[in-house]
Amino acid sequence: MELNLCKDKLVGMYRKLLEIRIFEEKVFELYAQNLVPGTIHLYAGEEAVAVGVCSNLRKDDYITSTHRGHGHCIAKGAQPKRIMAEILGKKTGYCKGKGGSMHIADFSVGMLGATAVVGAGLPIAMGAGLSIKLSRTDNVVACFFGDGASNQGTFHEAINMAAIWSLPVIFVCENNVYAMGTRRSRVMLIENIADRAQAYGISGVAVDGNDVLAVYEAAQKAVERARRGEGPTLIECKTYRHKGHSRIDPAKYRPEEEVEEWLRKDPIKRFREKLMQTEVLTETEIQQVEKDVLAEIDEAAKFALQSPFPDPAEALKDVYA
């Protein structure tokens, strides 16, 4: 990974990575205290993907997200306190408590929402790309999905349509090796999901998804291409979730050595070491960032915990616009 970005940008990216990690740790902590209704799918371990991609986007660009979507929201600029409130089912959440952990959206920052149907976000992102093309702006859409989604028909349909119409969409596959408990190699014969891009006549690239700068560079090229009207790109980011699929999953299907190997490749640890080696940040500055983020997430949790639950009759509102 090369450091040819300005200090502010690099520090900003480091801060986002940390924000996501500490946010997810807080969610887990609140979950353990029985304060989170339902289930959670944590993004810890995959932060470099969301941050590497979203650091290339403007506020008026769009993203679509998945059931494992907290990190995407934070990376695109949504407020942690309102994300946390939504996860807790509170009135002050982004969706007034109607969506929860798997359905967070913040249209004010171009976050078009998380769908919990695997693969369903791809056609929607493609449609947002179509809308951009029709309105002749230079915005782009980044569409996050997992390795499991790449086996859905919507993957084929959406990428093909984006390709033939040359739509400004960056399809970002977060290959975290397992679709729930199913290892990728059991459900596809190819090594790189990015290779599927060839079938649609578009460029595809596989990158180290735990290297935020590698993701950044790949996304930068794809975003520039999309803004120039040169169509979509498929980026496969090879990464790993630190925890199981969801809250009930101890992830026993993953060999210990494999987990350890990936933990050694932790994207935040790697980026921090890089920033210190290259003297972009000093130990003291690193500690300051961490302190700030911890305080911010604590504040977010406090806000969410203190917020009221929605009035029950709210359930009947917003069915129609």
Partner: protein, 324 residues
């Protein structure tokens, strides 16, 4: 007043709305200049508005609706055509889980102004994959509006309302209605959702019928006049929202109800309407409610088999006579 066909009325609505609002665009399989839609509803529109706004798509129903959803939540007003209603099953996640739920699930942040047009209905010998009437599926999905226009006038007015609204609309056309002529004024008009139309006034029995069955009900009513049975034919025009009040008022007046709709009887359109009347107006009924619908079978191919399962004026007359 001038007369135009149902197909022309739909095309006029699309054309007028595309002229009025640049964000309205059409997408679907073979809707463009090379074919003009399987039933020719969009014929000539690509020539007038260009291939960008009358967009031919690959055969990818899920992505057609997904594209419409993504475009709708980012500032445009797409009208998607699914060539046959039966094929909406291929796009069911995008319709039922995405389009219908986005406004609610995201706490009202996003509007989803999209229209899905599709033809339903049996009677043209194209068998089990091109003949169903699946309106009831979509009535069961909160967040969707469901239109079932039976005349050129209703088709045009409801389609214009659908395009200008801010919710996803499932717009059901009927293959046998496309060539049917009816009066449509030259001047602009819109038809609000949830307002039933009394197609024929009467006092002895209420028939609530939908889509093509409205015409069968009117034919049955005319024949029953000869036997001094005075039938009121009521067309809800939209199933969601449903004009419960007009249906209940009519039943209070006549004391008898027959509900007619294509589609299987079990858990179908007729079941819902019958249940509403049973729940809210049972004291006004002088006889049991009768339902006329298709039996619970796939639509068969052979003309003798197909005609056997589709409700007709005879089966409607029989139902009326059973409760008179």
């Amino acid at each position: 007043m001038r007369k135009i066909t149902y197909k022309e009325a739909l095309r006029e609505a699309l054309r007028e709305e595309m002229l009025r609002d640049r964000t309205v665009f059409l997408l679907g399989e073979d809707i463009g200049r090379y074919w003009g839609g399987a039933f020719k509803v969009t014929k000539g529109l690509a020539e007038e508005f260009g291939d960008e706004r009358v967009r031919d798509t690959p055969i990818s129903e899920s992505a057609i609706i997904g594209a419409a959803v993504g475009a709708a939540i980012t500032g445009t007003r797409p009208v998607a055509e699914i060539m046959f209603g039966d094929l909406t099953s291929l796009a069911m996640d995008q319709i039922a889980n995405q389009a219908a739920k986005i406004h609610y699930m995201f706490g009202g942040q996003a509007k989803v102004p999209l229209v899905i047009r599709t033809p339903f209905g049996a009677g043209v010998n194209i068998a089990a994959h091109h003949s169903q009437s699946l309106e009831a599926w979509f009535m069961h999905v909160p967040g969707l509006h469901v239109c079932v226009p039976s005349t050129p006038y209703d088709a045009k007015g409801l389609l214009k309302t659908s395009i200008r609204g801010n919710n996803p609309v499932f717009f059901c056309e009927h293959k046998l209605l496309y060539p049917m002529e009816g009066e449509v004024p030259e001047e602009e008009y819109m038809i609000p959702f949830g307002v039933a139309d009394i197609k024929k006034k009467g006092s002895d029995v209420t028939i609530v019928a939908t889509s093509y069955m409205v015409h069968k009900a009117i034919e049955a009513a005319r024949e029953l006049e000869a036997e001094s049975i005075n039938v009121e034919v009521l067309d809800p025009r939209t199933l969601v929202p449903l004009d419960r009040q007009t249906i209940i008022s009519s039943v209070k007046k006549t004391g008898r109800l027959v509900v007619v709709s294509e589609g299987c009887k079990t858990a179908g359109v007729t079941a819902e309407i019958a249940a509403i009347v049973a729940e809210e107006a049972i004291d006004y009924l002088d006889a049991p409610i009768k339902r006329v619908a298709e039996p619970d079978t796939p639509i068969p191919f052979s003309p003798t088999l197909e005609q056997y399962v589709i409700p007709n004026e005879k089966s409607i007359m029989n139902a009326v006579k059973e409760i008179i």
